[in-house]
């Protein structure tokens, strides 16, 4: 546990506070524009498609596909050290938006682009939980 506390922790801003509170409750919340029917990530004060401010939070399905990945052999901080090599990925949520994450519970030689994954959460501190994804068995 002590090693984890020196990982880089997100510092929420007014636009992102709800998202991080959702993560802490193990819910992946993404924004939905009621005006133009558009999902977006990361959280913003406007809809990037129609500029509307009428944005709601919705709980995402948690399903995603791998857009790209890399098996990292070194990290920015020793805090991540015990967990290397580790899979960094871009995933596209079923609802549309893309996000960066880790792929966990997956051997490095089993990962592939297009793989179906599902969200889970790692509790890094009492307040901060981070969404990561694991492979869905086909």
């Amino acid at each position: 546990m002590p090693a984890q506390t020196s990982k880089i922790l997100p510092i929420p801003t007014p636009e992102t506070e709800t998202y991080w509170k959702g993560c802490a409750a193990h819910k992946l919340l993404i924004q939905y524009c009621t005006n133009c029917d558009h999902f977006q990530f990361y959280p913003r004060s406007i809809c990037t498609q129609c500029m509307s401010r009428d944005i709601e939070w919705k709980t995402a399905s948690g399903r995603a596909t791998v857009v790209s990945y890399t098996v990292m052999h070194r990290s920015v901080s020793k805090a991540y050290g015990d967990e290397y090599p580790q899979i960094l990925a871009l995933v596209r949520l079923k609802e549309g938006p893309q996000m960066m994450s880790h792929i966990v519970d997956c051997r490095a030689d089993k990962i592939s682009i297009g793989m179906s994954v599902e969200v889970t959460f790692q509790d890094w501190t009492d307040e901060v939980s981070i969404p990561v994804f694991y492979p869905l068995s086909s």
């Binding site: 990982k7 880089i8 922790l9 997100p10 510092i11 929420p12 801003t13 992102t16 991080w20 990530f41 990361y42 857009v67 790209s68 990945y69 890399t70 098996v71 990292m72 052999h73 070194r74 990290s75 920015v76 901080s77 805090a79 991540y80 090599p85 580790q86 960094l88 990925a89 871009l90 893309q98 996000m99 960066m100 994450s101 880790h102 490095a108 682009i113 981070i130």
Partner: protein, 389 residues
């Protein structure tokens, strides 16, 4: 407004020593580069009325260009620092050309230097790396800069069937160029095997797929084409310039395999009235090997998915269809951070002056240089020529 085509020229151009330059700090390297470029141009510092720099990571100042002006006791009427990562250099040149064309100022110096190798502790260097990610939505996952580019490499290989050998061929070509350049940091020839056997950093990128970490700086002097007629050096004309900005963070990129180099390239070609086939050589940003393949395609030198074969066939070597980075590039000449692409620019100036010695591209008349900053985020393309026609 009229096109910028041919309005501004480069009349001075110089690099400091590069590689491991432990006896000079980043500010000192920047000032040294300016002194050398002014000397090359035959211009006194009191003639400089425009100054553009980029900030240093090793020796940062809140207002960097003002700091350099103060250090040198230059009193410009146009003064700013620009930060667009590796794309900064040519973006600065775009601003300078506009300032010259509109008469905002007459003689602009663009100077950039940093001491990434000697001026940053390993801890600070890693912190700088993590700060290139989005602080909330990327950095917590602990990515390094190579890992960001590895995401691009993997997507590119998956889309087009490109191979690790094709990525490695870029590193081999850059090293072969560097072997002809006595100023380059890494000059020992390498093989594709050696690239593939070098340590894996972020799969599929090996150590030798990644650019160097260096100290060094470079500067250029620009003025209007009319004023340049009487200068010491033959002018190098800015025939085209274009930018394209698609995102800041890689997780927000709309495509991992086609970049905003398509837009910057199109804008530069349109201004110049020229196309890829008119280029005698190029300077292509090569922070990591896959970037060269994607940029060669996006700038129209070959079709999508064809750059691997294009490189393997020797087309980017001296004597090839399009010699690329004849100085050795970021992979083998040096990479001092934001100033990195300055060296591709000063090399092209040398080539267009027909002063590149052993590595001269014969009858080089027109060249393209392209830089990108962030993680394939901010792109700027320049087309330079020996004459204005």
């Amino acid at each position: 407004m009229d096109s910028l085509r041919g309005k501004a020229v480069i009349v001075g151009s110089a690099d400091t020593k590069v590689g491991v330059i432990a006896h000079m700090g980043a500010t000192q390297l920047c000032v040294e580069a300016i002194c050398l470029a002014l000397e090359d141009a035959g211009i006194a510092k009191n003639q400089v009325d425009g100054l553009i720099t980029c900030n240093s990571m090793a020796d940062p100042y809140m207002y960097h260009a003002e700091m350099i002006a103060e250090y040198m006791q230059i009193f410009p009427s146009y003064c700013m620092s620009i930060g667009a990562g590796g794309g900064t250099t040519f973006t600065a040149l775009h601003h300078a050309a506009s300032a010259i064309a509109t008469g905002t100022c007459n003689t602009v110096v663009i100077a950039m230097a940093d001491s990434l190798r000697s001026g940053l502790s390993r801890e600070r260097a890693m912190m700088m790396q993590s700060s290139s990610g989005h602080p909330q939505f990327e950095s917590p996952y602990g990515p390094t800069v190579p890992a960001f580019y590895a995401l691009i490499a993997r997507a590119y290989m998956d889309a087009y069937g490109a191979t690790e050998e094709q990525l490695a061929a870029v590193a081999v070509a850059m090293r072969t160029h560097a072997a002809r350049n006595p100023e380059a940091q890494m000059r020992d020839l390498i093989t594709i095997e050696q690239v593939l056997q070098s340590r894996m950093i972020a799969d599929p990128l090996h150590l030798l797929d990644c650019s160097l970490v260096s100290d060094g700086g470079a500067a250029i002097v620009m003025m209007s084409a009319e004023r340049a007629a009487d200068m010491k050096q033959p002018p190098v004309f800015i025939l085209g310039v274009g930018e394209g900005h698609s995102h800041e963070h890689i997780s927000q990129a709309h495509s991992l395999i086609t970049s905003a180099a398509v837009d910057s390239g199109r804008r530069a070609y349109e201004m110049a009235g020229l196309g890829p086939k008119d280029m005698d050589l190029a300077g292509i940003y090569d922070c990591f090997t896959p970037v060269v393949l994607i940029e060669l395609e996006d700038l129209g030198f070959c079709g999508k998915g064809e750059a691997g074969a294009f490189v393997e066939e020797g087309n980017i070597d001296l004597g090839g269809l399009l010699p690329v980075n004849t100085h050795g590039g970021l992979l083998s000449h040096c990479h001092s951070g934001n100033p990195g692409s300055m060296f591709a620019l000063t090399e092209v100036v040398k080539q267009l002056r027909h002063a590149a010695g052993d590595r001269q591209v014969s009858q080089a008349e027109t060249a393209l240089v392209h830089a990108q900053g962030g993680i394939m985020s901010s792109h700027c393309t320049l087309i330079l020529g020996r004459d204005n026609s």
